[in-house]
Amino acid sequence: MKQNEVIIRVAGAAGDGVQSAGEILIRTFARSGLYATSYNYYQDIIRGGESWYQVRASDEKVKNQGDGLDVLIALNLDGVERHTNPEINEGGASPLGKDGVAIFDSSIKNYTKRETNYCPIPLSDIASKYSKNPLLKNTVGLGAAIAAIGIDFDILAGVIRDQFGKKGDIAEANVKAAKEGYDYYLANYKPLGKKFKYGKKKYMLSGGMSVALGAVAGGLKMYVAYPMTPASSALHFLAQHAKKYGVFVKIPEDEISAINTTIGANYAGVRAMTGSSGGGFALMTEAVGLAGMTEVPIVIYEAQRPGPSTGLPTKTEQGDLNQVLGASQGDFPRIVFAPGDIEEAFYITREAMNLAEKYQTPVFVMSDLYLAEHYDTLDGLDLNFKIDNGERAKDNEEDYKRYLITDTGISPRAIPGQAGLMHNEDSDEHNEYGDVVSDAITNPIDRIKMMQKRMRKLDTYIEEMPPTPTYKISDAEYVIIQWGSTKGAVEEAIDILRSKGIKIGAIEVKNVFPLNPDIGSLLKNRKKIFAVENNYSGQLSKYIAAQFLIKPELITKYDGEAFYPGALANEIEIRIGKKKEVIKE
């Protein structure tokens, strides 16, 4: 295990406060000047289901939840058993090994002794001195864990105080309880001996928050969405910041209403956005085409979770690409992005707000539960940005044509309230004025011209597209095609493989639609192309294969958990014949 890295897991039953304990931990690392990332494993049960929250911290950037485990805080017997048992492999997570420490309540006795350092601590007894609230024992555990890792206690105390801010007494009780846990650990057990180079304090966001914040930075004034995991984190964040950021936030009666309301607001000249997950998004699809046809800007946040149907509501997957690419009947331009991490989620969403208005068409930001719900640290964000409202018509323009045929496909917009530009926007096919030509006998020429005008926006957009991001690709014999949140695991797997002398790199398909034509040349003359996807059929791979006439080899995972770098590197080694597959009896 690396000296400058720690992986810590809090495990317990739903309702045990696992998540809030985990969040205190990652914030403590962030404030102490370490990079950190988190992984939330939970079930769709309000109370009782087993859950765990993992934080990985280091003085170097951490890109994913990582392999291995150093510290376990187990809140029940099951937590101790599960995470020390090599037989149990939850979505690829490693158990606690012989170097690790397991912190748990002294009252938990009948666990199976395995090769690890068991550190029972009277968590409940200490907690009960300060409060009747059983959740206080987590705080004691946190104090002990911080002692094991060697983080300054005052930083944890500060985070606890902020967390319980308004409830002064409760905050102090928690701080005292944590301190006793801290002291108890040092008095009875050995610290792990980690050595970190502490940097400047870090900021911390989840992917959902980052999308929401990016939208605000991009001029968002209205967010209308119906709750659905994992899109809800953006909704909650915006609702909590509505007043501060001047964003009107509304839950309407359903997703159909959400998207049509959003279209109405954008039509009226206000930047508005909606968000949902697969099933909710399915209800929006008719209106996606409406925005495309009437050329109203709209940004849609589509946060994936495993399907089909309501699938695995609290797990992760990248299975909605076909749905997003195919949403709504007919052909119309759309732009689809898949940010790979929390930083990209911010910048891409901000840019999406401009692009929607510039191209007057639907723009999607796709994420998944893993990206949306895990926290990550940032050194800061570049807040310089120019809002670009695209081409607008001038008041009282003579003979105004809302859908003027242009070379770029973009026609100057008029906003209600502008003088002399009154017109009708129509879901039916229309001519340059917006007058309906839905009857083909009336004017088939208009239809053809208008289709071509709209679709030309894609060519215009492709011209301004930034190059496809790559990772260690220049000398790569093997190339991985990757999209969205698999980025961190793919890059770390590449590092592992490179350390073994395997020349491998990756391209990140951030522009999922339209595809950047440069992908074709990036994939040329390679020994093998892999596609790593968090879904069953390789949705991106199939679509890229069709476009560039290539045949990537699929590596998929669809158990509801994200990729782990170690397992991924191992799989690639087997696939390229450097390693024999180990078949478990």
Partner: protein, 280 residues
Amino acid sequence: MNDYKNKRVPPDWCPGCGNFAQLSAITMALAELKIDPKDVVVASGIGCSSNMPEFLNTYGYHGLHGRLLPFASGVKWANSKLTVIAYGGDGDGFFEGTQHFFHTAKRNVDITYMVSDNQVFGLTTGQASPTAPIGLRTKTTPDGNIETPFNPITFALNAGATFVARGFSGDIKHLKELTVKAIKHKGFSFIDVLSPCVTWNKENSYEYFRPRVYHLEGNDVTNFDQAYKLGLEWGDKIPIGVFYEVERPTYEDLDEVLKDGPLIDQKIHQLTEDDLEEFA
């Protein structure tokens, strides 16, 4: 008044269709209220009646079947200075759009919702609509409709609409007066317009309604129970006029962000380094 009509596109309705009266009522009401066409948005769904925005020289949006109210709410919430009129059919509004109707009324969004109620689907060639009377023979009810008709008046009252009225396309002057009142009303105003489809509904014709409709006069429009009772009246006598009108804060009045003025005029929040401190 001609200012409110689109000079390029004449209405495409069948001669005699009830929708003509509503086109007149809308343009006359806007003229009487002296609302600048640039400040008007007419949003519609899909159906014969929903073609309305195409014939107007205001801002118009011809959206999706049944989805005009969410769209109109979005417009109003973006820019409360605009006069927003949602105009659709009874199939459009009382089938696919039912829950939007209910919730928009409940929220008391300051828009006017006018429904051309011809008791059939016009555009799709005459199927039974939610307001079709029992026994009505249509393409989809060849043996006569057997489903209890939807009552738009009591539904709107139940939902919490603050202005509920019924008009008749055979009485343009009265319809115009209702439209003026509805536009002036602050909050969600609803007018159900009995509007004969001369092509697909031979039973509920002008001749059918004319002897039956009577003007509501002297009713206490703030009395919910009375309005509800009148809303149930349907048969030899059919009341038209205002059933109910009360003042209640609109959604826009109450929302923390919207109450600070039209969203379109509010400054975009510029994120600063200070804002980021919250995430440290």
